[in-house]
């Protein structure tokens, strides 16, 4: 299958005040077929959201320098003009943000905000768009959509707002949907409902989805493939089963081990000691080495190779496959 999305060597450099340079994203590559959901996981500051914004062309032109290639449906998004990108966004490219309260406009009704996309991209009339908006709200299982469509965002609960965001993103049947921490601001029982919704929509639309999350539990529930990011790089990429059965990068293992367990009680939790490297002067070596219990001399003297483990499974670690360490 030819991939729908083909990101190659994506690199984002921010130019800050007084000549400060931040290498936020470094050589990120992945591809994505229609109907596949990729989870992009990592902790604060690892570059997962910046990667998403770079794909969507939403980074500030003045301070962010984006290079590499974002292949989408045969063209390189990084080459497109601003107006061509505006035609794509909201139409074939859509995005859901974390905070539904700040990403919805409080001055317009839910219906007006969904209709705007339909009028802009599909040329519907106001009344056609409103009717379609009601259908969309029904699809995301908002009760009594005929009334909700005329309500303002503040009248809706957090879970409802996020559903409205999903409806808006899906208005024009996007081919690629980027969801940036879509359930992080929600309570667990509501999160479960929204995840259930995303799962069923995924089966219906055949869109490729990039789901950004810091929660490995959420990723395990709805993703097909996972890319783990650390300090601006993808350190491991794997099919979801392989990642949770036999992770091949020490950072992935550390993340999994840090989650308090539900199956039994342990005296002390595993920790990943130390902190993120300074992103303005990243070393020409493994970025995780200073925090890695498996490190050796080679890890700090040269950049780690990308090691193939299996089908669509690779790890940026010289020690992979890690089974050698256990043996």
């Amino acid at each position: 299958m030819t991939p729908l999305v083909d990101v190659e060597n994506l690199k984002v450099v921010f130019h800050g005040d007084r000549g400060r340079i931040i290498h936020a994203v470094e050589s990120v590559s992945f591809d994505l077929a229609p109907g596949v959901t990729l989870g992009l996981v990592g902790e604060s500051g690892c570059g997962k959201s910046v990667t998403a914004l770079a794909i969507m062309g939403l980074l500030p032109k003045g301070s962010a320098e984006v290079s590499g290639r974002v292949g989408f449906d045969g063209s390189n998004l990084l080459d497109l003009t601003d107006s061509a990108m505006r035609d794509l966004r909201g139409d074939r490219l859509a995005m859901i943000f974390q905070e539904p309260m700040t990403s919805l406009n409080p001055a317009y009704t839910i219906g007006e905000q969904i209709s705007e996309t339909l009028v802009r991209h599909r040329g519907l009339t106001r009344s056609q768009a409103r009717a379609r908006a009601i259908d969309l709200l029904r699809d995301v299982r908002i009760p009594s959509p005929e009334q909700r469509v005329d309500e303002y965002p503040h009248k809706l609960s957090g879970g409802m707002r996020q559903r409205a965001m999903v409806a808006m993103a899906l208005a024009c049947d996007p081919k690629l949907l980027i969801a940036d921490e879509p359930t992080t601001a929600l309570d667990v029982t509501i999160q479960a409902q929204v995840l259930e919704l995303l799962r069923s929509l995924k089966a219906k639309t055949n869109a490729a989805i990039v789901l950004i999350s810091h929660d490995l539990g959420v990723v395990a529930e709805i993703c097909d493939e996972v890319a783990v990011m650390y300090a601006g790089e993808i350190v491991e990429h794997a099919p979801v089963d392989a990642l949770f059965e036999s992770p091949q990068h020490p950072y992935t293992i550390g993340l999994l081990a840090s989650i308090p367990r539900l199956d039994r009680r342990v005296e002390t939790l595993a920790t990943v000691e130390g902190s993120l490297p300074d992103m303005s002067a990243v070393p020409q070596a493994c970025r995780f080495a200073p925090r890695c219990p498996f490190r050796s001399e080679i890890c700090v003297s040269r950049p780690p190779p990308v090691v193939d483990i299996g089908t669509r499974h690779w790890s940026r670690c010289v020690k992979a496959p890690l089974e050698r360490i256990i043996a």
Binding site: P143, V188, P260, L269, G274, S275, P277, V300
Partner: protein, 373 residues
Amino acid sequence: MSALLEVEGLSRHFVTRRSPFGRPLATVKAVDGVDLTVPAGSTLALVGETGCGKSTVGRLILRLIEPLAGDIRFEGRRILTFGEKELRAFRREAQIVFQDPYSSLNPRMTVEELIAEPLALHDIVPASRRRDRVAELLSLVGLDPRYGQRYPHEFSGGQRQRIAIARALAVEPKLIVCDEPVSALDVSIRSQVLNLLAGLRKRLSLTYVFISHDLSVIKHIADRVAVMYLGRIVETAPADELFANPRHPYTRALFSAIPIPQPHSRRQRQLLEGDIPSPLSPPTGCHLHPRCAHAIERCQLERPALIADQGGHATACHRWRELPALSGLSEQEAPGPRLERLMSEFTRKPGVGATAVAATLNSRGLNGVPDRR
């Protein structure tokens, strides 16, 4: 074990809207008849979703806000009768750690000033010895005492939370209310702070009231758990018992909603319908009935009492005895053997030679900015 803290019939309402003459028009029953007992040296966890009243209970226990009704006893003393002087003395015995270490530390004070403030307020350590005591407290929470002269913004989230903990410990309290202390932190940092809290409890024989919405965190740290929904406790039990045999439909729904880091986890799911109702007009009878799959007419009419069995497992549900058994979370969610081995290898202390490598790292300046963001 004697109870350090006993709470009976605790209630607190908030007026959300008043008429122009100050007459209350709308009231939220944030806490509605809560009973709790916390033995000395144990950890009681309060769990629930947004608006369930768990944080309000935490503040009421410390008398940071005043209750409408109820009784709170700390070592047998009724703290609601305390005058100003006694209340001030009580602050030495009970402290709080807040969720957001970015807003709970005064940005204009150095770490040393922040931690020395309670020492001076309560006149615990003479001025001449304060600096030493601050250094001790900093090492107690795993921070380098040399950081005393720095300001909060120079620290990462996890380190700020350590500072907040050191500040709470300064008065040598018996009880600490931890209000979502790790919710704002990344996973790997979260486990460090949880380990610290568990270690301190042991070393200093502290008692915690631990407020959280995260069940995996609670499973790790709590001895006893109270599940709250819209101002009331719906179920309370020893932690292991609760996780093995959840009885209340709400507890079961909470458990089955936790995303577990295992694809194709074969759990029975019991999702709740609809949203959390507005606490302004909670449903009649059992607050859960509009969302509960097992609700009958009685649930609409009659508030279920929280009834405990012999083992101290209490449930506020009319129907829990009739509900189908649900196996707890414990057995089903174990990771596979390969992952288990990889994780234990990761956790094992780095072998010999690690220090040598660390030295190389330092000399090359590769050791990630130590402790500063």
